[in-house]
């Protein structure tokens, strides 16, 4: 198995994914993903994965896309600004790349668009300043962290921003797996040893191996060619963790995809979060639709110190 070429691994992964995920895929609507109603589609991607790794039950309560905000716009602008920074010789600073990308987006905004261009155009200068700072920070953190780990900054390249999304569609079903690629490094070689590394920015530092397995699997399925490596860039820690993309990693990624698919389906077929693992956390529970009836949340709320990693004494401090 280990001497397969990246293309052979890709072919194997696509066939195996279709077979392995068939039982969950069969529970979605038949036909093409694009033809299915929004409420019937199952999209397995980074956001659902990180939610699942934090609290499985919360996946069953996730709603669909609820519009653009500064947090979603940050990554959109960050990726495109990164693209401009490395591809436009006239743009020599990250901030200039962000400003020019933002200005072009606003200038080209279509009226009545529900895309990020119209959202950006509607914002006040102060919100735009914050957005520019956040997007610039995203690019700078990516470059700085990988550079500190012996990656040559000049060899880091952004994902193709205007190309097709990095997706793998389960055959004849309303289900897809989407890869998150924040940057690429090294050279792709479909036939032999590939040094291509997919870089993914990771904030959830306790579950890095799982995120890498999912993204390594998803990229392989989307492109049909296994990258040599997948690496988590963790600016919070100033660290990078890299793993080889092989059959074992893809298998591990598929196990996660299978679990995620089941949780996503629960929100559509009425099974809900009954019997699913629950885990309370400060930010996770804040916007969760399940919180009002969630035992884990109630328990954590009764002992708020747990959120900070402390337990309160059962009794008030005795007078000494």
């Amino acid at each position: 198995m280990t001497d397969r070429s990246p293309r052979e691994i890709g072919q194997y992964a696509r066939e195996w994914a279709a077979e392995r995920l068939a039982p969950v895929a069969m529970q979605t609507a038949p036909g093409r993903y694009g033809d299915a109603d929004d409420s019937e589609r199952v999209r397995l991607a980074n956001f659902g994965l990180t939610t699942m790794l934090d609290c499985e039950a919360r996946v069953t309560g996730l709603g669909g896309f609820d519009g653009w905000d500064i947090f979603k716009a940050t990554r959109w602008l960050g990726v495109r600004s990164f693209h401009r920074y490395v591809s436009d010789d006239g743009v020599t600073t990250v901030q200039r790349a962000v400003r020019s990308t933002m200005a072009n987006t606003i200038d080209d905004a279509k009226p009545d668009s529900d895309f990020v261009d119209a959202w950006m155009k509607d914002q006040t200068p102060a919100v735009r300043a914050l957005l520019a700072a956040r997007a610039g920070g995203w690019v700078a953190s990516l470059l700085e962290t990988v550079r500190d780990h012996d990656y040559e900054a000049e060899a880091i390249r952004p994902p193709p921003v205007d190309g097709p999304p990095m997706r793998f569609y389960l055959p004849d079903r309303a289900m897809l797996i989407e890869a998150r690629v924040d940057a690429l490094y090294g050279r792709r070689n479909p036939k032999g040893q590939s040094s291509e590394t997919v870089l993914v920015m990771v904030n959830a530092v306790g579950v890095v191996d799982e995120i890498l397995a999912f993204e390594g699997m998803a990229t392989t399925l989307a492109t049909g060619i296994a990258p040599g490596f997948v690496a988590a860039v963790m600016p919070k820690l100033g660290a990078v963790k890299k793993m080889a993309v092989d059959i074992a990693l893809i298998e591990r990624g598929l196990v996660l995809a299978e679990r995620l698919a089941d949780l996503e389906l629960r929100s559509k077929d009425g099974r809900g979060a009954a019997g699913v693992q629950r885990s309370a956390s400060f930010f996770g529970c804040k916007d969760c639709s399940l919180s009002p009836d969630c035992g884990a949340f109630a328990e954590a709320q009764a002992r708020p110190a747990l959120f900070g990693g402390l337990q309160q004494p059962d009794q008030p401090a005795p007078a000494s």
């Binding site: 905000d69 500064i70 020599t92 600073t93 990250v94 901030q95 200039r96 914002q123 006040t124 200068p125 102060a126 919100v127 300043a129 914050l130 520019a132 700072a133 956040r134 610039g136 920070g137 690019v139 700078a140 953190s141 470059l143 700085e144 550079r147 500190d148 900054a153 530092v205 306790g206 600016p235 919070k236 820690l237 100033g238 804040k286 708020p304 110190a305 900070g308 990693g309 402390l310 337990q311 309160q312 004494p313 059962d314 009794q315 401090a317 005795p318 007078a319 000494s320």
Partner: protein, 309 residues
């Protein structure tokens, strides 16, 4: 070294020649990291902590607080900040980033509040502002406008080739991730591609206070341990006579901060390991704002007869 300067832009100009140089290099920082880790290994091993309670978090804010009085830290957990204080903090943070990013023209308060609503929609102060009548709004404006203006003046002049990272979170794991030191800087400034160009900026909604220096040194330590390079300086922006306070970073600062980090981590590990033990009570000026001040037997005699309120 503490030197008053007028704006953040001026600070950066003065610091530019020092980029890349330090009396405390990467090897020393690696040694410091190892030495803290070794001490904390012993602390965790001795505590016999329930593994489900890891990681024990040691946030920057809690280091100062727990060294002042562990009982007060516990008493304050879960307590909510008053909406106006919460809003003042958010206004100061947003005004600082806005000024650092858009040097041409200061933002009006209403623009700053719009930006606060975008970045921090659940800030209780936003609801308070929206629901206020005209008279209340005027009162809030009196408290917020000077703050927004003074912070924007202080944060002006940042050159465009510096990258501003707002609300940057830094984490340093110790003891194989069982202890996690964290800090969130209001802004992290740096020049891409220039090692050791980091400047940490902390924005305070009130006047300068002696605790800010101790905080600055902890920021310096956590950023050094995260990135492997000591930052050029820690800048505290506040209202009052010294709006821009610069703390240079050197070996002495980092080593002193590391001792505080270890001491605080010991207390926090012990509190997590022994949740039913009453935490130590240490009197001091902090008793003035402590929720236990009416009942604590150790309350400082200076405040026992009354409170600052």
């Amino acid at each position: 070294m503490s030197a008053p300067l007028a704006t953040l832009g001026e600070v950066l100009s003065q610091l530019e020649p020092s980029i890349g140089s330090s009396d405390y290099g990467e090897d020393e920082i690696a040694d410091l990291l190892q030495s803290i880790d070794k001490e904390l290994h012993a602390v965790v091993a001795a505590a016999g902590i329930d593994p489900s309670l890891f990681p024990v978090r040691v946030p920057k804010g809690r280091i100062t607080a727990v060294l002042a009085c562990p009982a007060k830290v516990l008493a304050e957990l879960g307590s909510e900040i008053e909406p106006i204080h919460s809003l003042r903090g958010a206004v100061a943070d947003v005004a600082a980033v806005g000024a650092a990013m858009s040097p041409r023209k200061p933002f009006e308060l209403i623009d700053v509040l719009e930006a606060v609503a975008a970045i921090d929609p659940e800030n209780p102060g936003i609801d308070m502002w929206r629901n206020a009548n005209r008279e209340e709004k005027n009162l809030y404006r009196e408290r917020l406008e000077p703050l927004s203006a003074s912070v924007q003046t202080a944060c002006a002049g940042v050159p465009q080739d510096w990258v501003v990272r707002p609300q940057f979170t830094s984490q340093v794991p110790f003891v194989d991730g069982k202890v996690l030191a964290t800090a969130r800087y209001d802004m992290l400034l740096s020049k891409p591609g220039m090692p050791r160009s980091a400047v940490v900026v902390e924005v305070k909604a009130g006047a300068a206070h002696s605790d800010h220096r101790a905080d600055a040194f902890l920021y310096a330590l956590i950023e050094s341990l995260r990135s492997g390079y000591s930052p050029l300086a820690i800048v505290t922006i506040s209202t009052g006579d010294i709006p821009v306070l610069v703390e240079a970073v050197n070996g002495g600062v980092l080593e002193a901060a590391s001792r505080r980090l270890v001491a605080a981590a010991k207390v926090l590990v012990s509190m997590v390991a022994h949740p039913n033990e009453a935490p130590a009570q240490q009197p001091g000026p902090h008793c003035m704002v402590c929720p236990l001040r009416g009942s604590c037997p150790s309350v400082s005699p200076l405040v026992a007869g009354g409170s600052r309120d």
